[in-house]
């Protein structure tokens, strides 16, 4: 009963953070998946919302894959994000027969969702070849490949295995290539540029295409499903903020062809421009000059993320202290229930942090709230266990004397047991704080903010510098917490116990 009681208490304590999100408060929450194009489109959406001024834009970007982002939308944790028609039909609605935007929109209405018309480009699988080689061999369509079985291909493993990848394509066009290798995209780009490979699978809006002078072979038999980009939104939001929704459609529908999207991707991926800059460049119609003020922008963002990260750590460790110490005390008081309780916490601890964060989504949605709950659960074990260990290590005579002195339970706890356990408890809190600084970087995967935002973005953009910009300050913060606790020890641990 005790563990369930404390679990219930944990939930109650955490509730204020888990704001059940609806667009009720003049805010439109913009989500994105975690790859460059999705980031850029989400930022464009956010900037349009801000221009209209009907609602405030809140960015909850880099949520991960389709499942996660979709669940965030359904739970109301986000109101709008960029999606693709092929994904809607195949993954979300699981009905590949849904081909047109109208058909998709009709089907989505039942779930309270709606979509815009196509933004003008599709991000589909495509085969790419060096432009000069295509020119030389007279290759224009996929079908033309049948005349050149000597071409060397390198495909990503996903493309090689999926039915809507190479096996299906090959069957549809009756192709036979002499050499097909498995290679990761990043490597293949280099290989094709240097002429070691002739053919590769790409996404049609890939930023590299133009830079490497690659040409896409036309899928004239329409084998690849259509992955037209659209805005996927909660209808509730579109009805509350009709001006914003109208403006979003006006600004985006049909305004982006594949080449332009590819150029925007290239700006972010290859030129190192920030996503807000790229989005502004698109909306302003122009292309702002490269590089200016990027360092300063990053510094400003870093300051905001530091505050954010600090908040995550302080609140979650604070909650873990408030819950963990009583749980440790209960465990020490009621041995059997205590063992159950500590086992449950230990079990929660064995759930990988990322998985725990994912479990939070159906329960609490995305954002700071669920991240704080998960982080608190993680910080609980060292604090509860150390409190328990500290209490159990107290010499029995000292407890008997407390009874003989008739201190009463509360006074005994506050004046004798907790002070005598102070060293162990502080060590537990220190462990919790330092590890939470690290674990909190995962919060960004569910839109919880903090340094992890940079790590997630860096991973998506394949940009080591950005990853480090998130990881290094986290390490510094962990060290700072360690030092802080050395000082705090002096204040909290009674002088008589210090050596």
């Amino acid at each position: 009963m005790r563990p369930s009681l404390t679990a219930a208490l944990a939930l109650i304590a955490a509730l204020p953070f888990a704001v059940p999100a609806t667009a009720a408060d003049g805010v439109i929450r913009v989500g994105s998946k975690s790859f460059t194009e999705s980031y850029i489109l989400a930022e464009v959406i956010a900037q349009v919302i801000e221009q209209v001024g009907e609602a405030r834009a809140e960015r909850r970007v880099g949520l991960g894959g389709t499942g996660l982002t979709q669940r965030a939308l359904e739970s109301g944790a986000i109101d709008v994000y960029p999606e693709y028609t092929g994904t809607l039909a195949r993954v979300i609605l699981k009905d590949p027969a849904l081909q047109t935007v109208e058909a998709l929109r009709a089907r989505l209405a039942a779930g309270g969702l709606t979509i815009s018309a196509s933004l003008g480009f599709a991000n589909t699988y495509a085969l790419a070849i060096r432009a000069e080689q295509a020119e030389r061999l007279g290759l224009r369509t996929v079908g033309d490949l049948a005349r050149h079985p000597e071409l060397r291909a390198a495909f990503s493993s996903g493309f090689l295995e999926r039915d809507d990848g190479w096996p299906g394509l090959r069957a549809r066009y009756g192709l036979g290539l002499a050499r097909v290798e498995v290679m990761e995209h990043a490597v293949t780009y280099r290989a094709i540029a240097s002429g070691q490979v002739d053919l590769m699978d790409v996404f049609s809006t890939d930023g590299q295409l133009e830079r490497l002078r690659l040409r896409l072979l036309e899928d004239d038999r329409r084998f690849f499903p259509d992955y037209s980009a659209v805005l996927l939104a909660r209808r509730e939001m579109t009805e509350r903020f009709p001006r914003t929704w109208a403006r979003l459609r006006e600004a985006l529908e049909g305004r982006l062809d594949a080449a332009r999207m590819a150029r925007l991707n290239a700006m972010a991926d290859l030129d190192g421009r920030s996503v807000p800059e790229v989005a502004a460049a698109f909306l302003g119609g122009g292309t702002p000059e490269a590089g200016s003020g990027r360092g300063r922008a990053l510094l400003g963002e870093l300051a905001a993320l530091t505050a954010d990260h600090l908040l995550l750590v302080l609140i979650s460790v604070g909650a873990a202290v408030v819950l963990g110490i009583p749980m440790g005390v209960i465990a020490a008081r009621y041995r059997r229930a205590g063992q159950v309780e500590l086992s449950v916490i230990a079990m929660l601890q064995t759930v990988p942090a990322l998985a725990l964060l994912m479990f939070m989504i159906p329960l609490f949605g995305i954002g700071k709230g669920p991240a704080l709950i998960a982080l608190s659960v993680y910080a609980l074990l060292p604090i509860a266990r150390n409190t328990y260990a500290g209490m159990m290590a107290i010499e029995p005579t000292l407890l008997e004397i407390a009874w003989v002195l008739r201190l009463g339970r509360l006074r005994r706890l506050l004046r004798v047991e907790l002070p005598l356990s102070a060293i162990a408890i502080m060590a537990g809190i220190k462990t919790a704080a330092v590890t939470t600084v690290g674990t909190a970087t995962l919060a960004a995967f569910i839109g919880g903010g903090g340094y992890g935002t940079l790590i997630v973005r860096g991973l998506a953009l394949d940009d080591t510098a950005t990853i480090l910009a998130g990881a290094a300050p986290a390490a510094v913060m962990a060290l700072a917490f360690h030092a802080l606790f050395e000082l705090l020890d002096r204040a909290v641990i009674p002088r008589g116990l210090r050596s």
């Binding site: 005579t397 000292l398 008997e400 004397i401 009874w403 003989v404 002195l405 008739r406 201190l407 009463g408 006074r411 004046r415 004798v416 002070p419 005598l420 102070a422 009674p494 002088r495 008589g496 116990l497």
Partner: protein, 248 residues
Amino acid sequence: MIALRDVTKRFGATVALDSVSLDVPPGATHVLLGSSGSGKSTVLRLILGLAAPDEGTVVVDGVVVDAGSRDRLVARMGYVVQDGGLYPHLTSVDNVTLAASAQGWPRARVDARVAELAGMAGLDAATLGRYPRELSGGQRQRVGLMRALMLDPPVLLLDEPLGALDPIVRAELQDQLGTLFAALAKTVVLVTHDIREAARLGRTITLMTAGRVVQQGTFADLVERPAVPFVRQFLTAQTLAVPRAPGS
């Protein structure tokens, strides 16, 4: 005031006390004498209600010590253990005043009582401001005694109170304790393995071994009329270890 009637206490298969009876009249000092493992500390724990007898009864002030009465009865007892049993995280004075503040004594009353006890124990304010680990063994013992006396309980139970002290300090404190017990007119039960301590402090003595009472009486009874040969053995064993009893 304190009486044990045929008390037996077992810990698992071990018999800690085997049908022990004893009487301590009000205001008297009774010494439980024996080597370690003789069961003498267990007697104190039974009187305090920290443990319950398996057979027989323990009576304090005419009331049988049990789960229902022990919380009330313990208010009448002060308890001193070896090396003071002080809380290391509290200063000496905080150790001493802990029980009084739990009882909600006003500040002035607490201060007055501390001053009175400090005079009695011969400790100055500076010493009382220190943490236990900053004190000598003798000082710790005095602080422990002050703490036990703070609420002025009629019964004082001491478990090897001087056990951790070196012989000279020990002898000095034994004298002071004797004077103190006489002045305060407390009912005292003192546990020791030291014959000289028993001789000096005990009006009556219970000599124990292996959980049984060997002989009860005055020190003179034990020396002059040993009930069994063990009594003589026990008494001479320590005299051999300490050839010349200092201060006697």
